[in-house]
Symmetry: C2
Subunit: 286 residues, 2 copies
């Protein structure tokens, strides 16, 4: 046990997915594929200040210095039995734009709180706690298990590690992305996801047949069109990239376009640039 | 496709294990736990030289510049359908001393040959090819899946990714190790493994109950004693470390002792020092 610990969790862009709700959150989740990013979230957990009264209100969760409500983080606190854990998260990624920031803060909280409070969970146990908290909050279905794995994660079977199954595309391309704004994950996931799920299952079968980065982007682009999720600004950026000879797709779920190599730069955009994060989540200091 | 590609695969020390033979190599394997090391193997695969005749003999596998027979690498060539792939491996780790070098060369060959010859396998497919080749060669039962995962891997269920199941201890301690010589993996695995397997299953249950680095070392030490695998030199070094207030255990299977933190140094030894490799195997250039 220690007074504070810090975990790093990569950002995660989902390219395509199918939704698989279940009353047991450990069995609920998504199939699909995405990209774990070297841009991610650093999460520090501290013991509560001495003398702090529980009547002072709920424990603080801050993101880049601002106090924000984060239901998945509250869910992790509850599952780990650490109601007073103070959580401080720092990230260059925007919230609500398809980078899995809420899942990352939840997973980082699980890793760091496990170290600070000596909770003795295994890595699967930590991932499961964060996955279930994210599912129950309705803020995501598959980012957490992708962020835990790293690389270019393929979600073969939905759910937490004890139920799900993962694979990966064996490559580590340079990543470019550009964010125009937010899309509500809750609004899409709470609507009718049947046609989305059919499109996602098709893309998954085609990616498994030929698991390469170029194919991941092409199938993600097809999915967004088939599922009718593409925003006007993403559609316009993808058209520009295609006209310049490259390929790009939309991040699920955000008004965000992503591409590999220099596809967005080549089309005249000024994107954020990062790498694939091959490692996945973990403690960086304790 | 490209003319050459290089993969890095971490070394892997198994602390304890149970053996689970099966006629299907993808279902054969081991349960147990170990450590993925930042000291590992760089494997470069090249297309055969133009004009090389197949009558020139089998393709070359070199380790640190010396031509060596490596049946698991031949097995990967066969499974990937790349009989002419030239394989060049470089490592600071000794062969036959419990670091999973043969599995690492096999897995690195799979990753790099997949890129060079455009074989379009997923990461699970590459790990499965190397795992099966290693099992068929009789040189190991669980190093490959541990090396693919990285961290402090726990093998919950034996076998290649499509059948096995993994977990991990959520920590990244400093690692010290010292090698006195070789132990034949083939000789141990081809003998009666029943009492070894009982001891390994006990250690696994106890580690899952409390998955910490200290417990991993203590249970590995207990396993080696119960399975009657401890060599005289390892026993003497472990006794010295314990007398100095630390803990250490034997690498399965080699005349090698490993420890976390500064346990071997504190006992007056001059060990090799590395880190846990959290990432696992992957391409580093193509």
């Amino acid at each position: 046990m220690t007074d504070e610990a810090t975990a790093f969790v990569p950002g995660h862009v989902t390219g395509f997915f199918s939704a698989h709700p279940h009353e047991n959150p450990a069995r609920a989740g998504s199939r699909g594929a995405g990209v774990a990013l070297s841009h991610g979230v650093r999460v520090t957990v501290r013991r509560p200040d001495e003398g702090r009264e529980t009547t002072d209100g709920p424990p603080r969760t801050t993101l880049n210095g601002e106090s924000v409500p984060m239901p998945p983080v509250d869910g992790v606190r509850k599952r780990l039995g650490v109601p007073d854990a103070a959580v401080e998260a720092e990230t260059p990624l925007p919230l609500g734009s398809g980078f899995g920031v809420s899942g990352a803060v939840a997973l980082g909280t699980a890793y760091a709180a496990n170290a600070v409070f000596g909770r003795r969970l295994s890595e699967n146990g930590l991932v499961s706690a964060a996955h279930c908290a994210e599912v129950e909050a309705g803020t995501g279905l598959g980012d957490v298990v992708g962020q835990a794995r790293g690389g270019l994660p393929i979600r073969l079977e939905p759910g937490a590690p004890e139920h799900g199954a993962m694979d990966g595309v064996p490559a580590r391309p340079r990543v470019e992305y550009l964010t125009f704004g937010e899309v509500s994950t809750e609004a899409v996931l709470s609507g009718d996801t049947r046609s989305l799920t059919r499109a996602g299952e098709r893309s998954l079968a085609d990616l498994r047949d030929r698991p390469t980065p170029a194919r991941l982007v092409a199938l993600s682009r097809r999915f967004a069109r088939e599922a009718e999720l593409t925003t006007d600004r993403v559609e316009s950026a993808v058209a520009d990239v295609r006209a310049a000879g490259g390929d790009a797709a939309m991040a699920m779920l955000g008004d965000t376009v992503f591409a590999f190599g220099t596809a967005l730069s080549d089309a005249g955009y000024d994107p954020a640039v990062c790498e694939v994060h091959p490692t996945g989540s973990g403690l960086v200091s304790e």
